[in-house]
């Protein structure tokens, strides 16, 4: 059997790898972007000089040959579902028995005046990083007037701000909302990040939208205008206003599309033998607490693994389990386990503790009725995924979670632990007297995860 995968991102790569684990079907991966599958999430670190590009490769060079994973660097222009054939950019065609679409996303552009000027771009592909490098020369050439403007307060926007900051380039950061990423972060965390962005000397402008970008005679960006009529001279404008599935080339294929490629719980598209995974897949019926399109690394990875099982004859539904995600905002690490909505619904209560220095916080959401915990939001503190997941899954009451909070602590050894402060705060607010009953240790965690811990605490 010949399996062809469009896209060699994390979704495509993981599908290939897991199919290879179970079978020796022929596997071909096609990508126009890069011959070497690499970690998109690490693009910023290449620009910042933490890593070289080869450090971001998912596997060493010998891996692909050793595992007989064929690679083609080209663009797929068309999919012919009747002939089961792909048309490549270089004029060649390629037959498949099964097709996996893992073509990822592309940055949004909303038709702003001037969005096609030189020096205006998003950040998604390797080629975007290269053009960012090119624009950096122009920015630096401006000397004292050097400035980059970034539009859109999401995860890629703040990464771009950090990237320029690392090269000592002044940044103006336009965010439409009245606080950074507050569609996702609860108000306190969102405000912490506002402060942290400004602490780095970034000119963060909240409640501000892009109106127009203008250029000079050479067609290079020279100014950005905001909806407040402010004019900002700059040599670069980053548009980081979200991403959408990169599915233009499938429009005529007959495969059912909506915003993404529509798939059922087995990641099958409307057409037989064609699957879609990763950023480009849109679930027709997502599990509760999950969205139809989740453009994150982990979703692609899990979908790749799941579709591999199905293709290898073990039909497996995509069950992503409890939501989790993580990011880093400059120096503040962020982890979330479970559903932590930006606006607290009426049936939930929240315990929010923040370190006096304002760069660390822990939030635990739980139900008013019965106290079952529903989510953890961590800033600058590391928690163990499996422990939090188990608490959420088993609907463990908040009091019991607090007693055992040390089990979740995943900060390095010797780091100050804040469990008792968090408990104190809860006790004060609720007139309770909960005490820590377990210590941070791998043995205890192990016992807890294999359920013995539960009984001894019951």
């Amino acid at each position: 059997m010949k399996i062809v995968i469009i896209g060699n991102g994390i979704a495509g790569t993981n599908a290939a790898r897991f199919i290879r684990k179970r079978t020796d079907h022929q596997i071909i991966m096609i990508s126009e972007e890069s011959w070497q599958p690499y970690s998109r999430t690490a693009l910023m670190y290449v620009y910042m000089g933490h890593l070289k590009l080869k450090d971001t490769h998912l596997y060493e060079d010998w891996f692909w040959e050793k595992n007989c994973l064929e690679r083609i660097q080209s663009r797929v222009n068309r999919v012919d579902i009747h002939k089961k054939q792909l048309q490549l950019q270089d004029g060649k065609t390629l037959e498949y028995d099964k097709l996996i679409i893992a073509c990822g996303s592309r940055p949004n552009k909303f038709g702003w005046p001037g969005q096609s000027l030189k020096g205006v771009q998003g950040l998604y592909h390797l080629q975007d990083l290269e053009s960012m490098e090119g624009s950096t020369l122009d920015i630096l050439a401006a000397g004292k007037n050097a400035r980059a403007v970034i539009v859109g307060g999401g995860l890629i926007g703040i990464e771009m701000a950090e990237m320029f900051h690392s090269r000592h380039i002044p940044v103006t950061f336009l965010v439409r909302e009245n606080s950074f990423w507050n569609q996702v972060l609860p108000p306190e965390e969102s405000d912490m990040i506002n402060r942290h962005i400004r602490e780095h000397g970034i000119d963060l402008r909240l409640n501000t939208e892009l109106k127009e970008i203008t250029g000079d005679a050479a067609g290079k960006v020279s100014e950005v205008y905001t909806n407040h009529g402010d004019r900002i001279a700059c040599q670069f404008a980053g548009l980081t206003v979200g991403v959408s599935p990169n599915i233009e080339f499938l429009k005529e294929s007959g495969i059912k599309l909506n915003r993404g490629v529509l798939v059922n719980e087995w990641l099958e598209t409307s057409e037989k033998d064609i699957y879609a995974i990763g950023d480009c897949a849109e679930l027709q019926q997502p599990d509760s607490g999950r969205r139809a399109i989740e453009a994150v690394w982990y979703t692609g990875r899990m979908m790749g693994q799941t579709v591999a099982q199905t293709i290898c004859g073990v039909k497996t539904a995509y069950k992503p389990g409890i939501w989790f995600n993580s990011a880093k905002f400059f120096d503040i690490e962020y982890q979330v386990y479970g559903d932590v909505p930006a606006v607290l619904p009426a049936h939930l209560e929240t315990l929010y503790w923040e370190h006096p220095e304002g760069r660390k916080s822990v939030r635990i959401n739980f139900e008013k009725n019965g106290g079952a915990v529903t989510g953890f939001n961590l800033m600058g503190v590391r928690y163990r995924q499996e422990v939090c997941e188990k608490w959420i899954k088993e609907r463990t009451p908040i009091s019991q979670v607090l007693e055992n909070l040390s089990l979740a602590n995943f900060d390095p050894e010797f780091f100050r632990q804040y469990e008792s402060e968090i408990l104190d705060q809860y006790n004060r607010q609720n007139n309770t007297n909960i005490r820590l009953s377990s210590k941070r240790s791998r043995n205890q965690v192990s016992r807890f995860l294999s359920n013995l811990g539960q009984q001894s605490n019951a």
């Binding site: 933490h50 890593l51 163990r384 965690v445 192990s446």
Partner: protein, 443 residues
């Protein structure tokens, strides 16, 4: 784009305002100190030892500390790896090669042409008289520079990692052991006409501590103290090493106590990304390091058999045996390649490919230790920071992205992988049980 993996794709000069005026002044001070040293070295004589010594050590120290302070002063606590891949020093550029050549030249003089260091030795006489009660020799010069490098660059490292208490405490520990146990105590023992003994080095790293000659010399010349020292060495080698490694992993020694580790973690910090992460390097590592260990074990056994049979087995070859080892491994490998080539091969070449102590600790760590690096569920984004900054060349990412816990013989537990991970995926921990057998059966 072609099929060749790109190196750095940076085309712009990445550090337009790299060094501030004050940083430059601090560096100038360091340069003055170095110039003192260089002139004395090259001219092989010294003008006024006390003044020269004070002048060079004070300018070197003040300059280095000032530079470190200026570098991190304005920044918020956090990971400070901006531009590492662009910098000439940390990236096998001109500066890297120059530093490498300079240190290598020093080692060559030290081991094979000590006369060339005559001026420096004289310059250090006052200090040596003061703490050891005797004139300096080339080893004293070396020891002082070594200790100074650990202390000064240790302070720099602590400023860089001021948000990370594991790194801070570990660095205080290596600075303490270097200054106390590898510098002052051996010197004071000499002052009191006792053997110059290093309590924190044991067989097989200090291979001769359990050779018959050393044992006889210690027990014959120093009576009770000598017996105690032999006993100490044996207890450390055969009891403390396995027991402590069982509880804490090899890190208790390699990145908390050992002087080689101390230099690697402080002075060598800028070069940690240069370690080779490939599978073939790992293969070479296992061959080399275990060969060295086997060689030492056999040598030790032979020497004892020989001394027991009163020279009947090896005859006059016995000393030649350990001399060869001393030249090839002790000087060439651990000195010239291990330290001189920091800027070329990375800061732990000796620890990874050559050190017999590391080999032994590694075997305990791999098979009989509670130490693991735990992976936090599915949080890894395969960014590659952990592998890149692992000085032992361990491809940490290849484990983390599969959700596998890491048990590797070579891991010195420096904790840097955990520190640089932007997603909080890695944690160094000790425990008697594995989490769900994840070290063995990932995914």
């Amino acid at each position: 784009m072609n099929n060749q993996p790109l190196e750095s794709i940076s085309i712009a000069q990445p550090h337009p305002v790299n060094t501030s005026l004050r940083q430059k002044m601090a560096l100038a001070l360091v340069a003055v100190g170095l110039l003192f040293v260089l002139v004395t070295w090259a001219s092989r004589q010294v003008w006024n030892p006390l003044l020269s010594l004070t002048g060079s050590l004070v300018t070197l120290s003040v300059g280095t500390l000032w530079y470190a302070f200026e570098t991190y002063k304005g920044s918020l606590p956090g990971i400070k790896n901006n531009g590492v891949m662009f910098r000439s020093l940390s990236n096998r550029g001109v500066w890297g090669w120059m530093v490498g050549v300079f240190i290598t030249a020093f080692y060559v003089c030290l081991y094979w042409f000590p006369k060339m260091l005559g001026g420096l030795v004289q310059m250090f006489d006052p200090l040596s008289m003061f703490i050891r009660g005797r004139a300096a020799d080339q080893w004293f010069v070396y020891g002082t520079f070594y200790t100074l490098a650990v202390l000064l660059l240790g302070v720099k490292f602590m400023l860089k990692y001021r948000h990370n208490r594991y790194q801070q405490i570990r660095t205080i520990s290596v600075m303490f052991f270097q200054l106390g146990f590898s510098f002052l105590i051996p010197a004071w023992m000499l002052l009191m006409n006792q053997p110059e003994f290093y309590f924190t080095y044991f067989w097989p790293l200090k291979y001769d501590y359990l050779f018959p000659n050393t044992v006889n010399w210690l027990t014959n010349s120093y009576a009770h103290l000598g017996v105690f020292l032999v006993f100490w060495g044996a207890v450390m080698s055969f009891i403390a090493v396995p027991v402590l490694t069982y509880f804490f992993g090899k890190r208790w020694y390699c990145s908390w106590v050992c002087g080689c580790g101390a230099l690697a973690e402080t002075a060598g910090d800028s070069f940690r990304t240069l370690s080779d992460k490939s599978l073939s390097a790992w293969k070479l590592e296992r061959w080399l390091i275990h060969s060295v260990l086997v060689f030492i074990i056999i040598t030790t056994i032979l020497l004892w058999a020989n001394s027991w049979k009163q020279g009947a087995i090896l005859g006059e070859y016995s000393m030649g045996f350990s001399k060869t080892y001393g030249f090839l491994i002790g000087s060439m490998f651990s000195g010239v390649i291990g330290t001189g080539f920091y800027p070329i091969f990375g800061n732990r070449v000796w620890c990874r490919f050559g050190c017999p102590q590391a080999a032994l600790l590694g075997i305990f760590q791999k098979f009989f230790s509670r130490f693991r690096i735990t992976t936090n569920g599915g949080q890894c984004i395969s960014c590659g920071n952990c592998s890149t900054y692992c000085e032992m060349g361990i491809d940490v990412k290849s484990y983390a992205q599969r959700g596998q816990d890491i048990v590797r013989a070579s891991c010195v537990g420096c904790g840097i992988c955990s520190a640089v991970c932007p997603r909080g995926v890695l944690r160094l921990e000790n425990g008697s049980v594995d989490l769900m057998d994840r070290a063995k059966y990932p995914e």
